[in-house]
């Protein structure tokens, strides 16, 4: 199998989905540490979260492409539906965090209110990461338990000769 043959539309999802998983997790970690230490990690975390959130929506798009193909082969498509729901929760939560951060950047609030909003955003980040981890677990389950989008080679591996 050559490089181009590998790229069926259901393979776009695993190619894109790992970026937001890493960026949102590390971004949230940087954001929280940077907020308490009041150092460079805070803006770094924000940038990672902005890119990660864009990546999350791209992954939802590629996931929808894969959905139409793999759902017909799964033994339990309800897991795919839950995976999809949790992916949307993650993307909505981090989109809300991005919008709130941009608003905080452009509108100056009183320190107490500003701090309270940052606290709420960090709570949402922790919740968002927990939801992201569960969505990822379900995605892994679809691949490793139900072979979603997986081409199973023949027992004698003749395709690779």
């Amino acid at each position: 199998m050559n490089f181009l043959e590998f790229y069926r539309s259901e393979t776009y999802h695993p190619v894109t989905v790992h970026w937001p998983i890493v960026l949102l997790t590390i971004g949230s970690l940087f954001y929280i540490i940077g907020y308490f230490k009041n150092n460079y990690l805070l803006p770094a975390g924000k940038v990672l979260i902005y890119i990660g959130t864009t990546g999350a929506w791209i992954s939802i798009y590629t996931g929808n492409l894969a959905d139409g193909i793999v759902s017909r082969e799964l033994c339990d498509p309800t897991i795919l539906k839950t995976h999809e729901n949790f992916a949307y929760y993650t993307a909505y939560i981090f989109s809300m965090i991005v919008v709130s951060n941009l608003l905080l950047h452009f509108f100056k609030l009183k320190k107490k209110l500003n701090n309270m909003i940052h606290w709420l955003l960090m709570i949402f980040m922790v919740a968002g990461i927990a939801i992201l981890v569960y969505a990822s677990h379900l995605g892994g389950s679809l691949v490793y338990d139900q072979a979603a989008g997986v081409t199973v080679p023949s027992s004698d591996c003749r395709e690779f000769e």
Binding site: G68, S71, D76, K81, E84, N85, Y88
Partner: protein, 103 residues
Amino acid sequence: MKKSFFLLAIFASFFFFSCSQSTDVVDTGTYTGTVDEVEPEKTEIYVETEDGKILELYFTDATTLTKDGVDAEFSELEEGQKVEVELERIGKRLDPIAVRILE
């Protein structure tokens, strides 16, 4: 602060409830219901049965679609139509064998 957390919890619960989509699994058989959603690019429909269950059905190569006893195109399916679906349960997947548009 307590009040803020309480409001946050209510907001989060409402948010999750409003944007989630759940489907049901039923046994092999024939069901009547209403088309809840049509996704032409995936040749997929959601049907709400008379007892309120939501069935997610992906058409296969073997699925037949008819209207008034004659073959119909997938594009004839619309939200709100009454349909009768004959389906086979494989694991927890529901494969539509026949979909009949009733009105």
